[in-house]
């Protein structure tokens, strides 16, 4: 063996297809505590603990045999004293002197191994916590919905005079109660919807959706709100068709339009324009509102994030998070462009038809 390879700061073995170790470098022999001549001619499984032997036979060797290469494989080697040493292996299988051999290098990774174990554990805990959060949100919004429904229902009964005549002032208060309860209910629906999305339990019914009709459908629902806010609205979506779930697309459009209305002052305008870009359709919802600072353009898509604005209608800050998740679930994306004071544009990309 080459002298450099023999003393290189990593273990090296050459293994025949039948598992026999043909070459072993001095570094590996000393790492494992065996004289080199003892290792040569042995089956590679002698230096693997039982779990590693199975892994070698069922995964590593088949992979080398079929792909010719295996990289960044975590293994444990067994020393003469029966200790296990975590290593990272790279291996390549090639023809040498008329026979196939697998050349493998091993790098010891004791500290990295511990660090990786901690990372894995942290990931497991984070996944658990996230699942618990989604479950909690879902349960909470369910449980809060029932008493809220009772509040709106009873306020409506009182307002209708079922329990006797009510004065103008009382009617006014009842209306406020109902409006506040409706607002709360809407926020709960958002939380519930988000929790469902997070847990992956929102079924998608994909079909070909003409964007012009989808935008028109959304427009009907926001028209009054648009007029009340003194905004002009225009669309240009003729001809474009996307492959999406029509109800989810509607939900995204309504979220984006409600958002545009919320942040655009009287006299401004909101527009929806669609264009095809290769395999994708691009829907741009643009307003002339207060805009979004550039450092907030990513954050606004995170759940429970609200821009710092005063005197605005509050929500729970889930509309954009839900919209982005829905867009991604349908194979698309939702991003935003803006400069403060120059309005905002939300860009929804979906697979085109």
């Amino acid at each position: 063996m080459d002298r450099l390879l023999d003393s290189a700061p990593c273990g090296f073995i050459s293994v025949a297809d039948d598992g026999t170790m043909i070459e072993v470098n001095a570094t590996l022999a000393s790492l494992l505590g065996f004289p080199r001549f003892e290792l040569q001619g042995w089956h590679v499984q002698k230096i693997l603990p039982p779990g590693g032997r199975i892994f070698y036979q069922t995964h590593v060797f088949p992979m080398l045999r079929m792909h010719g290469v295996a990289e960044e494989i975590y293994l444990e080697l067994r020393t003469k004293d029966g200790e296990t040493i975590p290593v990272l292996m790279n291996a390549i299988r090639r023809d040498r002197d008329g026979a196939f051999v697998c050349d493998c290098v091993f790098v010891r990774m004791i500290q990295r191994n511990e660090y990786e174990a901690q990372l894995l554990e942290a990931r497991r805990l984070a996944e658990q916590a996230s699942a618990a959060k989604a479950k909690f949100l879902s349960m909470m919004s369910h449980d809060l919905r029932t008493p809220l429904t009772s509040i709106t229902g009873n306020a409506a009964l009182l307002a209708a005079g079922v329990h006797g005549a009510v004065s103008e002032e009382q009617l006014d208060s009842l209306e406020r109660i109902r409006n506040a309860a409706r607002e709360l209910l809407r926020m709960l629906e958002d939380i519930l919807g988000f929790a469902k999305l997070e847990s992956g339990s929102v079924p998608l019914r994909l079909s070909d959706v003409p964007l012009e009709a989808a935008v028109a459908r959304a427009e009907v629902l926001v028209r009054l709100h648009m007029q009340e806010s003194g905004l002009t609205f225009s669309t240009d979506c003729e001809g474009a068709v996307v492959h999406a779930d029509p109800d989810r697309l509607q939900q995204i459009l309504l979220n984006l339009l409600a958002n545009a209305i919320k942040f655009t002052t009287t006299g401004g305008s909101v527009s929806v324009r669609c264009a095809r870009d290769g395999e994708r359709a691009v829907i741009r919802v643009q307003d002339t509102g207060i805009g979004i600072p550039s450092d907030q353009l990513q954050r606004i898509f995170e759940p429970f994030v609200q821009l710092e604005t005063d005197n605005r209608e509050r929500g729970v800050g889930l509309g954009l998070a839900i919209s982005r998740e829905l867009a991604q679930a349908m194979g698309g994306e939702l991003t935003a462009e803006s400069a403060p004071g120059a309005g905002a544009t939300f860009i929804l990309v979906l697979p085109a038809r």
């Binding site: 598992g19 499984q45 779990g51 995964h59 088949p62 079929m66």
Partner: protein, 172 residues
Amino acid sequence: MIGALAAQREPDRFSRLIMIGPSPRYVNDGDYVGGFERADLEGLLDLMDRNFIGWANFLAPVIMKNEDRPELTAELQGSFCSTDPKIARRFAEATFFADNRADLPQVRTPSLVLQCAEDAIAPREVGEYVWRNLPDAKFRMMKATGHCPHLSHPGETIEAMREYLANGSAAR
């Protein structure tokens, strides 16, 4: 063993079974020698978990590397290695902790057990157990070593399969 279970449920669909290094149970149990203690197999699952991190990385470039050899890519796609690592992990768990000993006598299909020398996964005792407990089986000891003779010694494996399918007399 999956093939044996399928043949047991749908015997009409199978005329012969050839089992390479089969094991109905990997964990030792009383007098039964499976070859492993439970802790050994847990070590395997631990290794698989640890290899999740780099798994996707080492599969992706490999598939690209075979672009000029489409037949290899097809082989890869059909192989268990190409499965989703989460599935591979559960597949290993299901396989290595399964106990299908009671299923063997129910398999009516004529079968051949191909046993490798020095098979660390399914040792000779296990292969012989399968052979003894299948109602209509032959046993053939191979020169090939290891657990994947179809990969390490394809020639001998093909020859053994051909002989068995031709006359069934090449094995005891």
